[in-house]
Symmetry: C2
Subunit: 396 residues, 2 copies
């Protein structure tokens, strides 16, 4: 894998990840773009203990442009896009309309990368300004002694929102990728996780894909996103709380016991190979939901060894192809990598991917209404065992 | 208010709430309905500490029937509905496709009700079977000593799901109600809260309204729902955790301090009267979100005094009418009453209503994609101060 860091016309970083060596310095961004000046805030909800990102500069972002205007396709004459080169394997760049705005201009170079061949010289130096941001895990301790002012508090919404294009062909989906290409995407996720987790002020790295207009996806080009948050996320914090209380009670790891229970039961397993296990979770919230775990526990993607990396594409592509066959058209889905926070919680956390769709059947969506959106209580109409049985029966 | 409890053809309870005395025994349900035999389960997610309801019998429930087939309109010749009478003020009945299935057939009669004039004789007696259900707040303590089996555990999904029809006129919305009618709805919410919280096994009562197809509403008739859960909900549990840690740290109530801070700041206040305060919360998750609090703290709806009840309709109708004017068509919304659990947490909880829409602008929805649905991190494009300013500027 060759990694080449460059800059777009407005100063955002773009990184080419190529399977084979290729010269990347010949294609500067020829657009004229306004300088990025936006900034967001993260506000703390004192009633729930959760951070909310307020990003008012995003109101004008693009909303489902036509394929001809796709900003994720390679550039060609008369159609200059976010990617200056005429083709690419995988490319990552800072989102033009980010929820979390950059203080980080230049992240550290990954040990994986053989060379950083381009750009970057004009980049803003890393400010280190994030180092003093309170981590969400300890935010409660940061209450000053005057309650009424501490109740309304915020931090800079500094972090990083990246777009990752899985392939240059506009018409593919992730499920269409070759194993080699999917492996390259995995290597990029690993590289981004390593780089971003090292960056000052970053508390958690989240690699994910939203697919389908029912999920609100504004671009159909095969792509995902990577968020580097300046706080640990609420869902991860809850899992860490559960691992802690479980270890205190039983002296064991809750993820290990859960995987052992799923393997012993078997009724919810969808697919597996020597390195990975995929199953519908016992308390699934979504109509079709599959969790994919490496059988050996790792805190995050960087811990995967060569064998586990090689074994990932076949099982993940298998799952996505099953999802594509669930309904009369390919299922909308969210695929979310759950990793330990950058600086905390690694001991007991288990890296895994959660893949789910909000479609119940060909004509019906699962909406988040009062119980879900108001109280966080999900009602699922399809039993996890039924869902696993249907997914097993589909040919990948 | 006259309260009359009756039974539908399949044994479900239906309760008429009338402003003036009226004979309700003349209109039996003339339909032939299959007996309700469904049952649901609540499964515990050992990784997040949250309950998920698995209700597979709901897959066949109706999905946006035409107005002519509305099951919430009063019955007329040739069109027999869920409501046998030819008109009603407010009516409540057990949902035919409930997420939580009934063990409770007969809830206790409210002190508010002057008479229970009808039906009920053929009803199934209360089983009391729920009394041994572990409360979610203490569920962690219920782990047996064998971790691998305790990890996959569930309880009966016994509780109660009610439909509340706000008016018999199909074409109204809540915002169209008179103050008298809105006050009757409030009295019904109070009565249902009191009755259901007393029922065996019920840990939390949740009154809410979903409005609009973008929220997934399957019926356009003006109505809401009431869920009586056999566990305290995740969102309420988080708020209780925050009230506890705040009191430990500051010796004060976090809701009181938050309301004082909002009143002192003022920039997010939308409306108020001597008894109620409505504001966009500092860390709003949704594009337009308003929280409505009684200025005097109560644990739940039953604590509201006569003056507070009288003062509710004007400010709530005002808010709904502002929401109706935000966009080119009336905003889809969720209105959610947050109350203390039935048996726990009342000391520091503050009753309030959370009203929000998932519409960002006339053509755009706020979707829950990777960050929200995967990590519970909301990104909001509209600042709470902008939202409050717009809502203040609209004529109610």
């Amino acid at each position: 894998m060759q990694k080449t860091s460059t800059r777009l016309a407005d100063g955002r970083e773009l990184i080419y990840y190529d399977r084979l060596p290729v010269r990347r310095s010949d294609h500067p961004d020829r657009r004229t773009l306004p300088k990025q000046t936006s900034s967001s805030r993260a506000r703390f909800d004192s009633l729930t203990g959760e951070w909310v990102i307020i990003a008012s500069h995003r109101q004008d972002r693009s909303f489902q442009p036509s394929a001809a205007d796709c900003p994720l396709c390679p550039s060609r004459d008369g159609h200059l896009t976010e990617v200056p080169a005429p083709e690419y394997d995988v490319v990552v760049f800072q989102n033009r309309f980010p929820a979390l705005t950059a203080a980080l201009a230049q992240v550290s170079t990954s040990a994986l990368a053989p060379a950083s061949t381009g750009g970057g010289a004009s980049g803003v130096a890393a400010t280190g300004a994030l180092a003093n941001v309170p981590a969400a895990r300890t935010a409660g301790a940061a209450h000053p002694t005057r309650p009424s002012s501490s109740i309304l508090r915020s931090i800079a919404g500094e972090g990083r929102c990246e777009v990752i294009c899985f392939a240059s062909d506009h018409d593919l989906s992730f499920a269409d990728l070759s194993s080699d290409q999917a492996r390259l995407v995995l290597d990029v996720w690993i590289d981004r996780t390593r780089d971003l987790a090292r960056s000052p002020g970053i508390e958690q790295v989240f690699c994910f894909e939203n697919r389908g207009s029912e999920i609100g996806v504004t671009q159909t080009h095969p792509h995902g996103q990577i968020y580097a948050y300046p706080f640990a996320t609420p869902r991860t914090n809850r899992m860490l709380d559960m691992t802690t209380s479980y270890r205190r009670r039983f002296g064991r790891n809750v993820f290990d016991d859960m995987l052992a229970a799923e393997r012993a039961d078997g009724s919810r397993i969808v697919a597996q190979n020597p390195s990975w296990l995929a199953f519908v979770p016992y308390a699934a919230r979504w109509p079709y939901e599959v969790h994919l775990y490496p059988k050996r526990r790792h805190a995050d993607l960087t811990g995967l060894d060569e064998g586990e990396r090689d074994a990932f594409p076949p099982i993940y592509l298998d799952l996505l192809r099953r999802f594509d066959q669930l309904f009369d058209t390919p299922a909308p889905y969210i695929a979310a990598w759950h990793q330990a926070p950058a600086h905390d919680g690694g001991r007991d956390f288990a890296l895994h991917l959660e893949l789910f769709t909000n479609r119940r059947s060909s004509g019906k969506l699962k909406y988040l209404a009062g119980s879900e959106a108001g109280m966080d209580v999900f009602a699922n109409d399809i039993t996890p065992e039924q869902a696993a049985k249907r997914l097993r029966a589909l040919a990948p």
